[in-house]
């Protein structure tokens, strides 16, 4: 089984409600979301359709829309919801501790 670790990604207050930010770690890049309900999630940073970063996209409730072609994913599950995205997004567990957001990668 692959080794995973919890990585500190950002402060809770770094992300507004219904928004997303970019988090780079090593040679990997992620998108950290805060939904309209205030829940935090994390996924791979790039859209599965083409290499455009989701952190420039639009969060609507618990959906993220890619900024280039308007493909949509369900943030909690990463499920592809609207063409041109056909492949689900990889998501990562998130935890909040002492005002910080951690993702398990």
């Amino acid at each position: 089984m692959a080794q995973t670790e919890w990585i500190e990604a950002c402060e809770v207050d770094d992300i507004e409600e219904e928004d997303v930010i970019r988090f780079d770690h090593g040679d990997r890049t992620f998108a950290i979301y805060r939904t309209d309900k205030g829940d935090f999630y994390a996924s791979d940073g790039y859209c599965t359709h083409e290499r455009f970063h989701l952190s420039n996209g639009l969060v609507m409730g618990s959906t993220i829309e890619c900024p280039k072609h308007n493909g949509r994913f369900d943030i909690p599950t990463g499920a592809a919801k609207r063409a041109p995205v056909c492949v689900d997004l990889k998501t990562y567990p998130v935890k909040l501790e002492n005002g910080k957001v951690y993702i398990q990668i």
Partner: protein
Amino acid sequence: MAATAGKRDYSLTGPEGKRAEEKGLVAADWYQTPIPRPQMKELMKRKNGPAIRDTIIWFGGLIILGYLGYLSWGTWWAVPAFLAYGILYATPADSRWHECGHGTAFKTPWMNEVIYQIASFMMLRSATPWRWSHTRHHTDTFIVGRDPEILTERPPVWKVLIMEVVHLYGGPKEIKRFFLHAFGKVDNTENEYIPQSERRKTYWEARIYLLILAALVATCVLTGSFLPAMYLFLPSFYGSIIVILYAMTQHLGLYEDVLDHRLNTRTMYLNPVLRFLYWNMNYHIEHHMYPMVPYHQLPKLHEAMKHDCPKPMPGLFSALKEVYVALRKQRHDPAYVIVKPLPATANPYYWGVSNVPDPKWHTS
């Protein structure tokens, strides 16, 4: 500078696509005017209200003009009545197809999808293939060998533009594709951009389109009149004049193979009626740079970006004149393109990876 250049292969299956890939022009990072995130979030916000209002006006207008056409059928008054009906049918169908295809017109996803499907049929565009064609157009805008929506090549093929005034170039091509799709096939160009997972949907859409068209033909035969077709199938031909005029202003005469929409896309000002028909797609640089901004926010996006963009053309006529002059020049000098000065407040043009020093295609 005048430069000579050989004729290029604009097909998606020829060598130009490979060449574009080698030059780093495929699915590349494009220039974007910097806009602060809070402002962009406001601009991207979705609403149902404007699109519901515009859809009611659109279909309401079609009912009124259609009724006038019915009343005047058999007289010469039917000509202006159906011309107006056709223009109100095709022009918004094109822009609604476009905006709902992006999924930005309405906030509610199913509303976008319903209008997208209706408008696709009205324009005789296969819904799923054209969604993917337009996706490619946004990934590789005006990249030769990659963009399936380059209206005409350089030197221009006037026949295509003239035939498109009554949709006689694209229309028959699409109907041929309906039959191809109905038999479970896509053509070579479509094969380049429609993923396998979307093919089944493509085939079923074509079968439904053909059933509707068969029902329309049957209605015409049974009633002994082509009046029913004046309402449903024929307007996408006889009402296409403004569709092609708008399309000509979008990219023609400008650069190919660059990674900056300010170089290959044209913004123009229009009056409110023409903007209603076009759903603000006259702000075309803005749309290409930020496709997630809905049509009703494009005037605001234009305000936020205009310090960084060339001066917009003042109207449709002046934009068409600019295009016409450029195409005339390209007839003898295919390398000719229009380069517009940027305001002092703008960032410099971004030509793209290793793209500037190609003397064959870089001239003014």
